[in-house]
Subunit: 358 residues, 4 copies
Amino acid sequence: MSNTFGDIFKITVFGDSHGKAIGCIVDGCIAGLEIDESFIQKELARRSAGNDFFSSARKEPDKFEILSGILDGKTTGGAIAFTIPNTNIKSEDYLNLDTLFRPSHADFTYFAKYGTTVSAGKLQASARIFAAVVLAGAIAKQMLQKFGISVYAFVDQIGPVSLGKSYKQIDAAAIELSPVRCPDKETSDKMLLELKNIKKNNDSVGGKICGVISGCEPGLGDPIFQKLQAKLAHAMFSINAVKGFEYGSGFNAAGMVGSQHNDIFAIKKNKLTTLTNNSGGIQGGITNGEDIYFNVAFKPAPSIAQVQKTVDRQAKPIEFIAKGRHDVCFVPRAVPIVEAMAALVVADAYLKHLSYAE
Amino acid sequence: MSNTFGDIFKITVFGDSHGKAIGCIVDGCIAGLEIDESFIQKELARRSAGNDFFSSARKEPDKFEILSGILDGKTTGGAIAFTIPNTNIKSEDYLNLDTLFRPSHADFTYFAKYGTTVSAGKLQASARIFAAVVLAGAIAKQMLQKFGISVYAFVDQIGPVSLGKSYKQIDAAAIELSPVRCPDKETSDKMLLELKNIKKNNDSVGGKICGVISGCEPGLGDPIFQKLQAKLAHAMFSINAVKGFEYGSGFNAAGMVGSQHNDIFAIKKNKLTTLTNNSGGIQGGITNGEDIYFNVAFKPAPSIAQVQKTVDRQAKPIEFIAKGRHDVCFVPRAVPIVEAMAALVVADAYLKHLSYAE
Amino acid sequence: MSNTFGDIFKITVFGDSHGKAIGCIVDGCIAGLEIDESFIQKELARRSAGNDFFSSARKEPDKFEILSGILDGKTTGGAIAFTIPNTNIKSEDYLNLDTLFRPSHADFTYFAKYGTTVSAGKLQASARIFAAVVLAGAIAKQMLQKFGISVYAFVDQIGPVSLGKSYKQIDAAAIELSPVRCPDKETSDKMLLELKNIKKNNDSVGGKICGVISGCEPGLGDPIFQKLQAKLAHAMFSINAVKGFEYGSGFNAAGMVGSQHNDIFAIKKNKLTTLTNNSGGIQGGITNGEDIYFNVAFKPAPSIAQVQKTVDRQAKPIEFIAKGRHDVCFVPRAVPIVEAMAALVVADAYLKHLSYAE
Amino acid sequence: MSNTFGDIFKITVFGDSHGKAIGCIVDGCIAGLEIDESFIQKELARRSAGNDFFSSARKEPDKFEILSGILDGKTTGGAIAFTIPNTNIKSEDYLNLDTLFRPSHADFTYFAKYGTTVSAGKLQASARIFAAVVLAGAIAKQMLQKFGISVYAFVDQIGPVSLGKSYKQIDAAAIELSPVRCPDKETSDKMLLELKNIKKNNDSVGGKICGVISGCEPGLGDPIFQKLQAKLAHAMFSINAVKGFEYGSGFNAAGMVGSQHNDIFAIKKNKLTTLTNNSGGIQGGITNGEDIYFNVAFKPAPSIAQVQKTVDRQAKPIEFIAKGRHDVCFVPRAVPIVEAMAALVVADAYLKHLSYAE
C-alpha cells in the first residue's frame, strides 16, 4: 500500500507481472462524460513497447476491458474499473533471479519489507502497473479536455544528447513522429544513434522528459501542503526510475538573482499575464493561468545484458547475467506515463477547485 | 486547505502574518516520548533570521508555547499543540502592497482563488508558517532519534557559488559554524562575499540545499504511490520557493548508462550494503539501509529593494518598490525547514513500517 | 465516490449491475498470509441468494477470480484484486423503471446528483456491490484469525419476531443451520412463518442483525474521531438499507442510571475483565479486551410486487408495479455483509495498533 | 490520533484537561464568509455547564481566541485557528484517580494503548475537547446558513421520561427555553423532576437527543462508503458516551413492512417531495431534499458520587468514591455538540457537492 492516488478524482491500481491482469479503478470522475475508447486504446499503445530496437519486446499490444462505470459511452458517476490482461507472462524468466538481489532493483527492499522469496519484478514493483496509470490518465485527459486543459510531454534528453530547446520552441505535433518522442528531427536522429551505441555495448541509458500543461485557469491548487507543484512532484516520483523533478526555472533558479527571476505582470489582450514564466504557471502553489512546464529525470534501466556482481539471498557474492531482452532506454515509453500522472493531478485539482464556492 | 501533512504522524499547521499566532498540531506521535523543549527552541532559533546582513529583520526570536499533549515532559499519545505568537506584526508594511500584484508572489493567485483584496503576504502564503513546521519537525526528530535515525541539511549552492563536494566529504558538525550553513569554510566565505554583492545591488539570490537522512533500517516506504522519494518530493515542494528536487544520482542519472549507475550489492561487516549509492538509499520506493540524500533548489526571494513593474488590482500597469528590509537570500534559513519536512516524512514512514506485521 | 474504505487495511470496490463485473482491491494486507480460496467462496455463497423462498432469484452462485496480490497461495504484500463476473444481467428488467422514480430507492437522488436517465439499480446503488465487500471481508477475516480475532453475526429480528436473547445465550454454530440465520430454532421457525405471510401479501419486511467481535486485545482504536465504535457505525451505515446502529447497551443506555450501567473492573484468571459489558468492549473509543457486540437495523426492501404510486421523470404522477422476483427479506443475506464490514474495521484498527510503538 | 474530521471542510482538534488550552483548526472553509463572533460565543455558552443543578460546576464560561484565518470579520480562505484557555484546571481532583481504573471510563484502555500512568480524564478522553468541536461547528453553521441549511437538536429522552413527539410536532424556538433543552414544557418539567431524584440518589442518568437538518438540496452525499448517513453516524459516535444512532425510521424499520415504509413521491408546489419521510431525507446515501432527522442515545455519566468497586493499577480490587461535583446528566449539554458534529458533516458534504461539475 498505498495504491491509491488523488483525493476527489482518485485512482486505485493493482497488478503484478505474475497475476492474470493489472487494472485500475477511477473514482470521482464527473458523470455524463463521453468516453472515447479508441483514445484510451491509443494511449495504451503509446506506452507498450513498439517494434523499436531499444525497447524490451512484448508480442501483443495491451488490450483493456471496461468492467463498470460507463454506460452507453458515458460515465455514470460510479467507479470506472478497467482491467488489462497479462497476456505475455514469462515469469519463468525471473526464476533464476529469485535467488539473488539484482543491483538497483527492488529485490532486496521487497525482501526486507515483505519477506518475499521472489524477485520484485514479479510483484507490484513491475513497471507494467503504469499501463493502468496510462489508462486512468486517458480518462482524466478526456475530462480535462472538456475544461479546456491539455497535457503533453516529450523527450528532452537521452544520455549525453540534449534537445536544448524550450517547450515553446518545439512543435508538439511532431512528438509522436519521432521513435524516441523527441519533436526535433535532428536531435531525435542523434538520440537514435546514441541508443544504437548503447545497445551495442549491452548497456542502458537514462534520460529526461519535459511535460507541459496548458489551459489551466487561475486558482487551481492549494497553499501549504497541497501546492500544485508538490502534487506534481509526488506524482512524478511515483513513476519507477524517476530521480529528479523541477518546474518553471527549476534548478537554474538556484543560480539566479531576483530581478532576473521575477515574472513581471502585464495586461495582454485584456488578460493578466506574465512577461516571463519562471514561475512555471504556479505561484504560491496555485495556478496563475500561464503554462505549467516541468522536467523529469530518469535513471538508466537497471537490467542490462552484462555480467554483474551482486549478492544472493544467502548473502553470498555471485555474478549473474539477466536473460531476455531489456530496455536500452524506457524514457520514450515513459512519456505517456508522465502525461497521465500530470493529468491525474490536474483533474483532481480542478474538481477541488470547483468545490471552492464563491 | 489542506494544512495537514502525513498519515499516521500527522501535522496540521495554521497561521498568517496578520493574526495573533501561528502554530501546529502534531497528531500520532508515540506516547511516552521524552521531549526536550530546549531542543525545540534551538531549532526554532535556527529558522529565525539572525543578525546576519542577508536576512530580513525580526527583532525577537520566535517563542513557542505547548498547549497540550505533553505531561511531565513526556508525550501522552494525544495531539501535541503548539503556538508561536506573532510578536512583530507590521502588516502596515503591506498596506500599499494590497493594491497591486507583486511579481512572482502569490498575490494574484490568492486573488484568483479567494477573491481576497489584501496581499498574500498577510495570509497563509507567509513563509512564517514554516516556523510551525520546524517546531513539528523538532518533535519528529526526537522520535526518530529514539529509532536511530538522524536528519541534517546544509547549503550547497548560493547563486553562482557551489560547494562542489558530496555530503560524504563534508563535516556535518561544521554546518552551524557557517553563517550561511555551508560546512566548507572556503565556500562559505565565497558565499558571504557573493551575498554582499547581491545586497549592494538591492537584489536577492537563489540557492540549493543538500539533505541527508541516516540510520533508516531497510523496509521503510511503500511501492506505487507512497514511494518514500515521492513523499520527500511532496514535502520539499510544500516549502515556499522550492523549484527542484532530486535524490541519489538525481538529474545526473539522465546522462548515465546502466553499468555505471547500478549499485552493486556486497556484504560488509556481515551487513548487506551497496558499493555505490546512486539509488540514494531508496529502491522501489523503499529504504535499503543506505543514506538517503537529496538536493532542493530554491528560487531567489521575489521581494527586492528595486523599482519593479507590475499591474494593480484594477489591471493598470504601475511601478512600485517594496518597503522594509528583505531577504537577500533565505536559503540558509531554509535549512532547518528542509530538515523538518524530511523528518516528518520519515517519522510517518517509520510508524507505518511498524504496522507491517510479521 | 468514494468507493474506498479503511486507512491501512483499505478496500476499493467497483461495480454496477449493467457492467461486466464487480470487484474490489484489497490494499494493505500483511504479506505472507495464507489465503484459503474455498473460505472466500463459502463466504460469497452465504451472501448469494439461495433456494429460499424469501430471496430474489439468481440462477448461479457468485464466482470470483483473483487477478493479483496472491502468489503460491500467499499474499505478496501488493494489492489483492478480485473480480466477480455479472453472469445474470437482466437490466431489461429495469427498462420500464428508467422512466420513473421508485419509492424509497435511489433513483431520484442519483438523478439529482448525476443527472442520470437510468434507474439507480443499474448503477452503483446496486446492493450487488456488497458481494465484493464480502470477498474483501473474507481476506480480513483470515488475517484477523491469525491475530486471534473472530467476527460473527446473526439475525435477531424479522418484522415483529424477535429473538429476545443476548449473543451470550445463543450457539453461534447454529447460525448457518437456520435458513434465516437465527440460531434459535423456535424463533427461526417463527421468522420463516412470518416471511411466508409477508410473501403472500406481496410485501417485504425489515429486521435486525446482531454482530459480535471476539478476541480483540486491549488498545485497538483511537480517541476523538477514530473511535472504534465510530468506524463500526460508519461501516454499518455504508451497507444499503441500514437505519440504525447501537453497540453495548445501545439505546437502552438512554433509560439507565450510572450505578446500573457502569462496568465494574475485576481480576479473573489473572486477567483484568469487567463484570458486566454495557461498554460493548470499547471504552473511550478503544478496545478493553471484552467482546464487542452491536445491533444493526434494516428497513424492508423497497421493491415489492404491489402497485405503487410515484412520479415519473417528467414529474407526472403514475402508478407502477415492479416486475421480477423481489427479496421478501434481505436481512438473512446481510449477515455476511455485516460480518465483512466489521472485519474490515477491526483489520484496519489492528494494523494501526501495531504502528503504535512503545 | 486521529484528531481530524472531514475531507474538504476539515477540523483538527487538540486539548486535554491538564494543558493550557484546547482548540481547533478549521481548514477548508470558503473565503469571504462573514463570521459573527458573538454567535460563536453563544454556541460555546450552550455547551458550558450553567447554573443548573444537574451539571458539573465550572466557574467561568469558556472564552475563545481567534488566532488566524479571519481578517476584518471575514474568512480569508486560510486555516481558522481557535483556542479556548483551560481556566479552571483542577487536575489535583484526579490525583487519587491516577492509581485506579474507574469503571466505564477510558482509564484502562488508555493505559493499555499509551502506557499512561495518569487518569484518562487528564488526557484527550476529556469531554472538554468537544468545546472545540462546538466552536468549529459554529463556523460550519454560519457557512451552511449562507447555503440555506439549518441544524438543530433537542432532548427527546432522559432516563424513563420520553418526549413521545416527532420533531415536526415541537416548536424549535422553545428548545433553549427549557433547562434540559426539551421543547415540550410538560416533558421538560418531568425530566427536571427525574433529574432531582437521580441527584438525590447520587446517581447519573442517560438520555436521547433528536437532531434535525433542514434545507439540504437534493444531491449531497455519495454512494457506497461516503453515504451521508454513514458520515453522520461516524460523527455522532465520535461524541463521548454515545451508544446508539438511528435516522429516519431507525430501529422501528426493522419491524415494518415495505408497503408501509416506502416513501411515495409526489409533486407539491411544483417540487418533488415524498408524502412520508421514513427515509429521513437520505436515499442511497444522498439527500433527497426532505428533512434529515436522527436520534442519538447517550449512556449515563460514569462518574457518580457513590462508592464503587474497581481494580487499581496493581490489579488489586479496591473501593473508591470520585470527589467533586459530577454531571447528573450531560445530555442537555450535548445538544450543541450533536448540532456541531451534524453541521460539520453537512458542510463537508456541501463543498464536495460543489465539486461535482456538470
